[in-house]
Amino acid sequence: MYSFFFRPILGLFCFLPLVAKAQFVSATLGISGLTCSMCSYAVQTELEHLTFVEKAVLDLNTNIAVIQFKPDQKVNMQQVVDAVYKAGFSIAYTEADFIFNQQAIADQFIFSYDGFNYQFLKPTLLVLNGKTTLKFLGKKHLRKKAYSFWARMIKETLNGKTKAEVETLYHVTL
């Protein structure tokens, strides 16, 4: 009787701590338009001003920013992107590492995280587990030429969606 009812429950509690919490852990941004350290410093301080950013390091020679997020804090990728634009620069590419737990996905699959929806376009894997790099495909997330490849697919997924749904939807790929 004990083993029939309680062992599975006990087993579940034992298993939980071994499963990493689904969350963003870091991001990498390629920054466009930067040429001097004063400009780079403006971008780095804007990124580090975000409450959920633990550390931002912008390589002055490659203009690539690596951002570590604080654990257990809600990460808003839009604010990350906006920080770069606030400093007066734009983004060549946006990548973020997210921890998945055996997440099965398909083309146009949507997963939700902290009030935002993330829609996959043309994923190359069917199951995601552990730290996985997501490439963001929004207009402000990558350079114009790269965005034009995805623009039509993104537009199709937005048909029939409300303004609020559009504002909280990110398009990503692997």
Partner: protein, 316 residues
């Protein structure tokens, strides 16, 4: 003139990253959103023939309202002008650069407010092309006594467009603007004085001397700049008790004073060096020299120093 354009050509071809934090011209780039900055400017030259020092200073606060809109407010002061035109205009227009003429007091000259809006931003890897429009208005408290106007010396409005191109080894900025001075009125003496309307073009080049490669934000940056300032302005007009006042009678007196009241066109060059400390503070120094005619706002050589500090956001 050819020599200076040859130097400019060298700037185009030198293999180093360029800079666009020009000491004189405003680049099309704007202040980061929510980031304030403060700028101190100082200019010095010797008046001819008196050899008295003429000093000018300004404090400018800038703030990024949005990533595309920067507001600025400045206060300027100098010993370039009298508090008001003297009663004896004839003596003034013949002698005010002579040693025997009364020394100008140090005083606040004017307040300037400006807005710059960046309307085009094309960014690439270590390159960008930006365009902006800029408007400024000034309230002056002193009687400017020359044909060429200056914001702060004159109550005036100014409008310009700016295009800045930066491609790794090359940075250039072009500014084209119009400056419309208002009439200065001294009702107690029945005087009015109006400087000429001015059209100007600035062409600025920048070059990063060191470091070749960055290792940290505390690396000292040394940048070289070469800026060409060209202006064309109308003659000054003056009335006394409503009647036109002719400057022709001063043609054979001090040539410099007479020329400063006439319409003019000139180009001057301003080479300068800039040091950037800890990626937050710029110190610039340079000199202005004429290459085609001359400006009558100042004598040559004119030396200038400026310090600019940005107060970037703190980590949360």
């Amino acid at each position: 003139m050819i020599r200076f354009f040859f130097i400019a050509l060298i700037f185009w071809t030198l293999s180093a990253k360029a800079q666009e934090l020009y000491p004189y011209a405003e680049a099309a780039s704007t202040q980061p959103k929510g980031v304030p900055g403060i700028r101190f400017t100082y200019e010095n030259y010797k008046e001819i023939p008196s050899q008295r020092a003429r000093n000018y200073g300004g404090v400018r606060l800038v703030y990024g309202i949005t990533e595309n809109l920067t507001a600025g407010i400045s206060i300027t002061g100098s010993n370039h002008h009298l508090k008001k035109f003297p009663a004896d205009l004839s003596y003034f227009f013949q002698k005010h650069h002579q040693k025997g003429f009364q020394q100008n007091p140090y005083q606040v000259e004017g307040l300037i407010a400006s807005l710059k809006y960046k309307f085009l931003n094309l960014d690439g890897h270590q390159r960008h092309f930006r365009m902006a429009v800029m408007g400024a208005a000034a309230k002056s408290f002193i009687p400017h006594d020359g044909a060429e106007p200056r914001l702060g010396d004159n109550s005036a409005i100014d409008g310009s467009w700016i295009a800045t191109l930066l491609i790794k080894r090359f940075a250039v900025s072009l500014t084209n603007g119009y400056l419309f001075p208002f009439k200065y009125k001294d009702e107690s003496q029945g005087y009015s004085f109006k400087s000429g309307n001015c059209r100007y073009v600035n062409l600025s080049f920048g070059y990063r001397l060191i470091p070749n490669a960055y290792s940290s934000y505390s690396n000292l940056n040394v940048n070289l700049y070469l800026e060409f300032i060209s202006a064309n302005y109308d003659k000054a007009t003056m009335t006394v008790n409503g009647q036109p006042y002719s400057f022709d009678i001063y043609q054979n007196a001090d040539k410099y004073i007479y020329n400063s009241l006439q319409a003019g066109t000139y180009t001057e060059v301003r080479p300068s060096i800039q040091l950037i400390f800890y990626s937050t503070t710029r110190v610039e120094m340079g000199v202005a020299s004429p290459i085609f005619n001359q400006s009558y706002l100042h004598f040559y050589p004119m030396y200038f120093v400026s310090i600019h500090k940005n107060f970037f956001k703190a980590k949360k």
